[in-house]
Symmetry: C2
Subunit: 95 residues, 2 copies
């Protein structure tokens, strides 16, 4: 099991639009091969910041399967214009 971690900084003022777009986008990721679960949470200290945690069965389900899919193009279209700066995504595993 791999945990994808992305801290998402949203352009101030666009938080509600981001949340609306994410409610559409989550249906995309939830259907991908190797997807296990996700959580999107909002930062208490900075209301323009969110954390996206996605559990995948294995690393390549995200890095190759999802990012290489046609569905990812739709995910990007829905979400990527909200980010400033563009997030660094990392993966974490059991230690």
């Amino acid at each position: 099991m791999i945990l994808e971690v992305a801290i998402l900084n949203i352009i101030p003022g666009q938080e509600d639009a981001f949340l609306k777009a994410f409610s559409e986008a989550k249906a995309i990721i939830s259907k991908m091969a190797g997807y296990v679960s996700h959580q999107l949470k909002r930062c208490v200290e900075n209301a323009s910041r969110f954390i996206l945690l996605v559990e995948w069965e294995k690393l390549s389900d995200h890095t190759e399967g999802f990012r290489g899919s046609k569905e990812y193009q739709e995910w990007k279209r829905l979400l990527h214009h909200f980010y400033d700066p563009f997030p660094t995504v990392e993966h974490y595993e059991i230690c």
Copy 2:
């Protein structure tokens, strides 16, 4: 429910000692009032980086209860010398 998020950068070469210290420290946090669960995971892209996710019943269980406790002094003694830089800890909630 509040999710505490800390990205922990460990001084290179001290990762195993950190993990050993954490195995002792987790017994401290697990007994605190308001503690729900925790996960410590290791970064795939950077083996000196870990993420600590702790679920608390409410924000003050961490910021006041744990950080104000005598047990936190022991947590600090066990763990804080491994970090470089010292981590920024944030809290996230359902959105």
